[in-house]
């Protein structure tokens, strides 16, 4: 048998296209006669738009339309009631209300981008301004409990926290806050809308979920879903903000309708801070009670986050804690405060990046209160089964993660005392935290077609958001089909392909990968069946189970002289072998608690005078079930850890308290890590065999890399300086 390619660190199949500029991203797709649209954003956070004077803009040569709330058409489905909490209220010029800073309030369409941009600058709306409310703390008495969160119920109680906490020998209790953040993928959101007649629409859209865009736009413009085609073949980063359509998508569609031309709409970098989602600002209270020996007796984790006035999004941070530690008394809750902000959304490791910061920092504080090594404390409370549901874990190699990362990092040499280690003017500190992210699997479809030339095309309407899905799916397909890797091509990013779930939540490998595997295995069986039923095949009459398949060849196990090939089978048959699978088997895993786990260890240096902070070393070990491609897996984890540095030290979206204006709306003010902020990062992929989590055995590694990083870095800063900062990002002024 040929060695399987699944798991091998193959280069991305789209790498050459991307680095040579040949991969056409949504805004780069060549569409004949395309017009360009530019959104005019509100420049205040709350109020009403006065009648807008559009004369100057409309007079600019080449301008095709200037749309405002005064003249914009109303999409026929605009008044349909919302179906669920994720079905967002979008702002496409239907009223004069300004709900948040940067809201679209006009749209200019012109024959060139330059003319559209110039004319957009001539639309200068005036407002009746109102004072926005932006402070969670000021509105705490209006906080409400959402019905549920993206990770289960809002409130949950196991045992009796209050009684256990009151009796606990050692207690810590703190409030942890996180600044709001914006996703900022390298590629800005973009849509090209092309109408074919009145009832058919094609969208080239920067999305992680073509089918979700299709559903939303079909409903809004009252089209048959099958008449809306959404194409997104390459994505320059998704991270959650491209999960479902925002206001610019209907605006582009509307503009194309009004002008009778295909319309391209690309957001500016500034607009990326306004209406395409963000991680909400959050306050988290964590209280922990423990016995003297470190046994956790009480855990409380409460989240209060902001959402917009008109939509609901819950950052499920407290839910992160539920499956983490063996403790009989756990109380978790989520509350929301409605403020004059745009709607927040999922951002890499929603709930987990934030929740792990609070919980894993609190544990570090507890470790000092107990005078116990932080790693020992976690091992002492290691959960052998899910304390939340009582179910066994589908697999859990967290102990190996702790051990391997600690060993590689040299944790055993750590001296507990803070501020005891220095190099020149640098104070050096070490910190650690647990990492975890739920392993989701959703229903997905896939199709495999084996062709007469001996190659296969495998398809699913998923997306490669930069994770390596193109490559991984082809690897799974090649092994399942019994074909060499270079004979398999994987197609994605089009709603004419088999239905696949949102490429988010670290669920694509498990969901789509399993469907691909099953579709390809079925195709392989069909080839065998076709061969043994074909009188012209040397294998005619053999029992299918007596036929072995490998690298496109069929061989009789009883008589190795009897051979056939996939190409010949299909050729004689006169038509392709086509297998389409709808994988609905995502329930059997529900008997288990399915999570990826990991451990993060960081070293920081803090300048004793200027308090500048540098992460100088980090080791992360992760167990995510079967690794489908060691190279892309490692890249995902590295990317997550890099972002963790940004989350811990740099990223914050600041709003002006007076008018709600986002003031950090450029990358010079909204800091992301640059190369020199990122040390050599060490990723350990801990082997983990999981027969339950998904048919491909993978859990997903897209998000776990960022989890735990906020706490590991913060804990290292405490170790270096003796100063505990419970607020992210930890900027130098918080240490001065």
């Amino acid at each position: 048998m040929t060695q399987p390619v699944t798991g091998k660190g193959l280069d991305r199949v789209d790498a050459r296209l991307k680095v040579t500029g040949k991969a056409s991203y949504s805004a780069e797709v060549a569409v004949a006669n395309v017009a360009h649209a530019v959104i005019v954003s509100a420049t205040t956070g709350k109020g009403r738009i006065k009648p807008i004077e559009i004369g100057a803009a409309a007079k600019v040569p080449g301008v095709l339309a200037v749309l405002t709330h005064q003249n914009a058409p109303k999409p026929p489905g605009a008044d349909e009631p919302r179906k669920n909490a994720q079905d967002r209220l979008l702002q496409f010029l239907q009223d004069d209300e300004i709900r948040y800073d940067g809201q679209p309030i006009a749209l200019v369409v012109a024959d060139t981008l330059e003319r559209a941009r110039h004319a957009a600058g001539l639309v200068r709306p005036e407002y009746d301004v109102e004072k926005p409310v932006l402070s969670i703390e000021a509105e705490l008495d209006r906080a409400y409990a959402p019905k549920d969160t993206p990770r289960g119920p809002s409130d949950k109680k196991v045992g009796d926290f209050d009684a256990a906490f009151a009796k606990a020998a050692v207690r810590v209790d703190g409030t942890y806050t996180m600044a709001p953040e914006n996703h900022n993928p390298m590629e800005m959101h973009a849509t090209i809308a092309v109408w074919q007649g009145d009832d058919k629409l094609t969208l080239y859209d920067t999305t992680q979920g073509g089918f979700i865009v299709r559903q939303k736009l079909a409903a809004l413009f009252r089209l048959k879903p099958e008449n809306v085609r959404v194409i997104s073949r390459y994505l320059g980063g998704g991270f959650g903000c491209k999960g479902s359509p925002w206001s610019h998508v209907p605006l582009a569609v509307m503009a194309a309708k009004v002008t009778g031309r295909p319309v391209k709409l690309v957001l500016t970098r500034q607009q990326m801070f306004y209406f395409v989602g963000h991680r909400p600002r959050t306050l988290q209270r964590v209280a922990l009670g423990a016995e003297r020996d470190g046994t956790l007796s009480a855990i409380r984790h409460d989240l209060t986050g902001w959402t917009s006035r008109f939509d609901e999004f819950v950052e499920p941070s407290a839910a992160w804690t539920r499956p983490m530690y063996a403790c009989g008394n756990v109380s978790t809750s989520h509350r929301l405060v409605r403020l004059d902000v745009a709607t927040p959304t999922f951002m890499r490791a929603p709930g987990a990046a934030s929740g792990s910061f609070a919980m894993e920092t609190a544990l570090d504080e507890l470790s000092y209160a107990l005078k116990m090594d932080p790693l020992e404390l976690r091992l002492k409370n290691y959960a052998e089964k899910d304390p939340d549901t009582g179910r066994p874990f589908s697999s859990k190699e967290l102990r190996a993660c702790y051990r391997q990362a600690a060993e590689r990092f040299g944790w055993a040499r750590r001296k507990a005392e803070p501020r005891a280690n220095r190099e020149g003017t640098w104070l050096v500190g070490w910190g650690m935290a647990s990492a975890a992210y739920p392993a989701h699997q959703r229903e997905s479809s896939a199709a495999a077609r084996v062709r007469a030339d001996g190659t296969a095309v495998v398809q699913a309407g998923t997306h490669d958001i930069g994770t390596g899905a193109y490559t991984i799916m082809a690897q799974i397909a090649a092994d399942a089909l019994g074909l060499p890797f270079d004979k398999v091509r994987f197609e994605l990013g089009d709603t004419t392909l088999p239905n696949a779930p949102l490429a988010a939540g670290s669920q694509t490998s498990a969901s789509v990968g399993s469907a691909v595997k099953l579709a390809c295995e079925a195709a392989r069986s069909m080839i065998v069946s076709a061969a043994v039923a074909d009188p012209r095949s040397p294998l005619f009459g053999a029992r299918p189970e007596d036929v072995a398949t490998d690298t496109g060849t069929l061989v009789s196990k009883k008589d190795v002289g009897k051979k056939d090939t996939y190409a010949a089978v299909v050729e004689r048959r006169g038509r392709e072998i086509v297998s389409t699978i709808e994988n609905k088997d995502v329930k059997s895993r529900e008997a288990y608690a399915c999570h990826a786990f990991g451990a993060q260890f960081c070293e920081v240096k803090v300048d004793e005078a200027t308090c500048e902070i540098r992460v100088t070393r980090a080791v992360g070990a992760f167990a995510g079930g079967k690794v489908l491609n060691v190279k892309t897996a490692r890249s995902q984890l590295l990317g997550g850890m890099v972002w963790g540095i940004g989350l811990a030290l740099l990223e914050q979206t600041v709003r002006d308290a007076r008018d709600g204006r986002v003031v950090t709306r450029e990358l010079q003010d909204y800091h992301l890590p640059v190369n020199s902020d990122v040390p050599a990062l060490d990723v350990i992929l801990v082997p983990e065999d999981d027969p339950h989590v998904s048919q491909v055995g993978a859990k997903g590694l897209g998000e776990i890399g960022i989890t735990g990083m906020g706490a590991a870095i913060g804990n290292a800063i405490f170790h270096a300086t003796g100063k505990r900062v419970r607020e992210l990002p930890i900027t130098l002024d918080r240490l001065l």
Partner: protein
């Protein structure tokens, strides 16, 4: 972005003629002016491209160094004579922007770059005395974490963004300019102006004048000069506080000193208060602390930037420690 005309010139005379035309702006590296045009902060009717003027030479002379206005920041930073004789300038340049920006940005453009005050850069904000005299200042009661604490006025608290200019102040540089009325030689310390009543005026450069070159004198303190910059990330960030320090030591006595500040001031700032504390004294932590205290005397913070006063003190002390070779 407004439509504009573009003109390329290849000699100083045609450059001066071109910019004499109403409202024309010179285009050098373009790292700031193009940015501001895209934001709608400036909209010159014409850009006069001076990139082809023969003003990029860096020449070592007996009495110092001459740096052409069109010399790229990268070329200056890595020039052997700069690294050897004026280390503070190399350090300051390399602490600024990114390699890509430094490859384009010029010495002349760097001197004239505009503040990164977020309210200045928001075309939708009507209250900016720097953009329109008398229109007010939105920054004053806004988000002021990045703003200045020294040299501010009731009308403007915008921080000057340049690192290079802070080093030039510590090196007693002279800015040479040419206009229709002839040439002028302007000491760097007087080149930029504090906002006062007129934040819209940022330097003594007259409309239509062209910076031709900058000269650095040969001083005893230049070789013992260092730049320290504290910022939010390790590169590609504006200073929260920065200091250039230069010392002329005779035995264990400071004969002459220069202390210049950035990030906390409305213009590249020379602190004669700090320098006075240093001269004639024996270098050491307490003296440097006292000089740092003196430099920050009179600093007036706003809501979010009080931390900069203490940070600047520490940065100054660090720069002096390094300049004295005591680190």
């Amino acid at each position: 972005m407004e439509p504009f005309r573009y003109m390329r010139v290849s000699d100083e005379t045609s450059a001066l003629e071109a910019v004499a035309k109403n409202g024309a702006t010179m285009l050098a590296g373009g790292t700031n002016v193009i940015d501001l045009m895209r934001l709608g902060i400036t909209s010159p009717p014409m850009l006069v491209d001076v990139n082809h003027l023969p003003l990029a030479a860096i020449e070592e002379r007996e009495d110092g160094l001459s740096i052409g206005a069109m010399a790229r920041n990268t070329d200056v930073a890595y020039h052997p004579a700069v690294r050897r004789r004026y280390p503070v300038l190399s350090e300051a340049l390399l602490s600024g922007a990114s390699p890509q920006l430094r490859n384009l940005a010029t010495v002349g453009g760097n001197l004239l770059q505009r503040t990164r005050c977020v309210y200045f850069r928001d075309a939708a904000n009507p209250h900016c005395n720097k953009r329109k005299a008398g229109s007010g200042c939105a920054a004053m009661d806004g988000w002021t974490r990045m703003h200045a604490v020294l040299g501010t006025s009731e009308r403007c608290i915008a921080a000057h963004p340049s690192d290079m200019a802070v080093a030039l102040v510590a090196l007693d540089a002279t800015v040479h300019v040419r206009g229709s009325q002839g040439v002028r030689h302007l000491p760097i310390a007087g080149f930029h102006t504090t906002p006062g009543e007129r934040p819209d005026i940022e330097s003594v450069l007259l409309p239509g004048e062209l910076i031709t070159h900058v000269t650095l004198p040969a001083t005893k303190f230049a070789a013992r000069s260092r730049y320290v910059k504290a910022r939010d990330r390790s590169a590609y960030a504006f200073a929260l506080a920065s200091a250039a320090a230069a010392l002329d030591l005779e035995g264990t006595t400071i004969r002459e000193a220069r202390v210049a500040l950035g990030g906390v001031t409305t213009k590249p700032w020379r602190s004669s208060e700090a320098e006075r504390r240093l001269v004639g004294q024996k270098p050491g932590p307490e003296l440097f602390q006292a000089a740092a205290e003196a430099a920050m005397q009179g600093a007036t913070p706003r809501h979010d930037n009080a931390f900069k006063i203490e940070l600047a003190r520490r940065v100054i002390a660090r720069a002096l420690t390094l300049a004295a070779g005591m680190a």
